[in-house]
Amino acid sequence: MKDIAQIVGEHPFFQGLESDFCNLVCGCARNVRFNPGEYLFHEGGDANHMFLIRYGQVALEVAVPGKPAVSFQTLHDGDLVGVSWILPPYHWAYDARAITLTRAIAMDAHCLRKKCDDDPVLGYEVLKRLLPILTSRLHATQMQILDVYGAPEPPE
């Protein structure tokens, strides 16, 4: 059976992290499991964790008054769920719901933030891994906002 250090070290988010740093962040990690339909977190709640999916599928969604919730992204094996833990006021901006049985690493946000603050080199490493994820999600959001699949009026 793999220990938590192996599991964390093998996750794409932390892959290649120096072993000293890896041991450091492992102190903030634990394994969690979510059944289909179970929520990882809700909009407005305290962002106390960063979740790293080991396997499963998670939908990010927003509640729409009087209508079913709208999902705007699904995340899968190897993905990170939740970035609000790194920026004050540390509140989730949307809901995250497991679509299938999902196993993940839950990183305690207080613990991880403190270790990043105490060692800026570690903090920079974590930020370098977060930024590409944020950038790619921003690009994806741009495409979704443009609603590119809507039918344009052709010059007929």
Binding site: P68, Q73, T74, M143, Y149, A151, P154, P155, E156
Partner: protein
């Protein structure tokens, strides 16, 4: 200019099938045998008498020489009338025109077929060709992105293809409600997750131009060479013969040199405004 190529031939609508709320597939008589067979990725000019003419890609199996299949989204005055045509009604037909998908050139390679929205229609004829000649191609992956689960074109067929052990289908939508169990997100985001061999892959991409640009970026980031990326460009084709210039895209006439063009030929033009 040959008169024949400018004069629409009247052909009958044989059948009409609703695909989505505003999208219909028409099966037409193929018309004159002298017209020659359609190739995957080519288009015909369809003329609604007294209304106007529009370019529509072939979306059916191009081996079926007695009929032509076109999928039409009813969005403008001509396409609305076209989509409303009933069996036995007459439509004007010119074509086939243009350069299609590089089916022969791609033999021996893996294929990454990337479609967005109605862009699946011109690629369906390529899929038919590939499935008919399955042994000539390596791994085949179809990525399809659309607005919502209700906007998935050819849904039963995608399901059928996905059942095949030798064909991978990945569908993603921009947004969905909680009943949807599939993927949500944009098509380009799927590219890095596929684990394909970029050096041995030919990519065929068709969809809204913004989606194609983002997809090309993802393909290039994954290591696919520019000359192995093919795009089906959509422009305002009128004469379809490269004479009128309505579809001119830099030095390229989309109707004659395209609509399928290698990315290295349109690289400098894709991000220009007002092209």
């Amino acid at each position: 200019m040959s008169d024949d190529l400018m004069v629409p031939e009247p052909v009958r609508v044989l059948s009409r099938q609703q695909e989505l709320e505003t999208t219909w597939t028409l099966e037409l008589e193929a018309g004159q045998a002298s017209r020659g067979p359609c190739l995957p990725g080519q288009f015909n000019m369809l003329y609604v008498f007294g209304v106007g003419e529009v370019p529509i890609s072939v979306s059916g199996d191009t081996v079926q020489s007695e009929t032509l299949v076109h999928t039409v989204r009813a969005v403008g005055p001509v396409s609305r009338k076209l989509a409303a045509l009933k069996p036995m009604e007459i439509v004007g037909l010119r074509g086939p025109f243009g350069v299609g998908w590089p089916m022969t050139q791609s033999e021996g390679s893996d294929l990454l077929i990337v479609a967005g929205g109605l862009g699946l229609a011109p690629l369906r004829s390529a899929v038919y060709h590939v499935l008919r000649n399955r042994e000539k191609y390596g791994r085949i992956i179809l990525l399809y992105g659309t607005r919502s689960p209700n906007d998935i074109l050819y849904s039963p067929q995608l399901e059928e293809w996905n059942q095949r052990p030798d064909f991978e289908v990945h569908i993603t939508v921009d947004h969905a409600d909680s009943d949807w169990q599939g993927m949500i997100g944009v098509v380009p985001a799927l590219v890095p997750t596929l684990g394909f061999d970029p050096e041995d892959t030919v990519a065929m991409v068709c969809g809204p131009e913004i989606m194609m640009r983002f997809t090309v970026n993802a393909l290039r980031d994954a290591g696919v060479e520019d000359e192995a990326i093919f795009l089906s460009m959509e422009r305002n084709m009128k004469c379809a013969l490269g004479h009128c210039g309505h579809c001119q895209f830099g030095a390229t006439f989309v109707c004659k040199d395209g609509p399928v063009l290698p990315f290295d030929r349109v690289r400098g033009l894709l991000s220009l405004k007002e092209f």
